[in-house]
């Protein structure tokens, strides 16, 4: 297919279109197979004991797959999440950034599917696995 948005373009798009999460995520790598995204973990992402919250892990999975889709279709489309499935497998390391590594598995006319392994930065075993389906609205003629 060919990448339609590079790392810096995705980062700018994210900050412009989603100011509510501005500063939370850094796009670290983009390739045809997927993207790698860092979540900068801060106080509001934490739960007692310093662990990263479930909704924060979900948010990283969601945004990372979304960016992998945009990298392949460009910024014009407004994809929306229709389904998410998450396995929480290990407790995240306290006060540590999360890294999401996406595989884009399907990029259809109507639906796109990706999955993502989420790691505490510097750890080998993933803390979570998520798969996400996005509905891609029809192109305006």
């Amino acid at each position: 297919m060919g990448i339609k948005m590079q790392r810096d373009e995705l980062q700018v798009f994210l900050e412009k279109e989603f100011p509510q999460v501005s500063g939370d995520f850094t796009v670290e790598d983009v390739s045809e197979d997927g993207v790698r995204v860092r979540m900068h973990v801060s106080e509001r992402n934490l739960r007692p004991g310093g662990t990263v919250s479930g909704p924060s892990i979900f948010a990283l999975g969601d945004v990372a797959v979304y960016l992998a889709i945009l990298a392949n279709i460009g910024p014009e489309a407004l994809a929306v999440t229709t389904n998410a499935s998450v396995d929480f497998m290990h407790k995240p390391k306290a006060n540590t950034d999360l890294i999401g590594k996406v595989r884009l598995l399907k990029l259809g006319r109507v639906l796109a599917v990706g999955d993502v392994l989420i790691y505490s930065d510097g750890m080998d075993a993933p803390v979570a696995r998520a798969s996400m389906t996005y509905s891609i609205p029809p192109k305006r003629a």
Copy 2:
């Protein structure tokens, strides 16, 4: 089984144990079959156009099923989410609280399962459906 924690006890527990989300959720109803929880939607839950974010919907589903479990086993246990599956079905109403209605489907020795329909307050059709599995740690002797 019999309810082990009433509405006010769940509310106090939530605010004490999870100060990070204090004020976000109100326990509205508790019965043997489940609970009803309100999410007070505020600026940080929103996305462009005033819609409520996916991670916020996830957060409501997660906390609502957790509270339904606690209502039945009491405050001593530290249940952790192991799996979540979410269908996002309709766009939430702008700037409107969300209501989560939980059915507790299984309360086993090791695993508990509940599902939750999530509504924009005042709307008939659910905006999302989620099912959540929690691992219940063994009792300390």
Copy 3:
């Protein structure tokens, strides 16, 4: 919306279009909210100890939600499953039919979502819960 296919019409449709599963399923009830479908459990659905296999439980969930969609849109469409999430909660009763009770949660232009509780006939607690998403192909002009 109004029901477009009644119980007998769904049964005839199922047997004609899916001869491979003919005789496996009986449509027991149809209403605007959903359908109830019985799976006639036979030797090939069983695993050691007489328990009903996971793929059989999946098959019942899949066909039951499919029939609930057809009941509402009529026989002309060819919906395909795009996502399924299943929680296996209790061991099914040995050598006993399964009953699936569907709630149709969304019937959109492109996607339909339903969930189903699956019971061993005569038991109170569900053995499994499943949610299914179907993609509905565009109408031929």
Copy 4:
């Protein structure tokens, strides 16, 4: 960890313990990261047009992750599926075997998680993705 059951041992175990599916599956490869399993597609796995049925795809995902767990813990345990999430992404090729490639993501004391990409033999794009959670019963003392 080290592999506790090699390819031939898994094959023999499968045929002995699950005579109902004997001949349906061949274990093709086993390594510390996962397994590759072939489903021999036959008439009863098919739907109109020769496509492989959803329950058959589910069955392959389920058995493949199960075998990946057994490869790592040995034949003594009786793991049961507690959760499955499946994305159906492309129509399988008609009358063609399916290949499941498992990644074992977590092998805990109580729960094991794996995911599997499922291919029509000889095709590049996966037809489905599944993640499976198994509950591992405590060892008998």
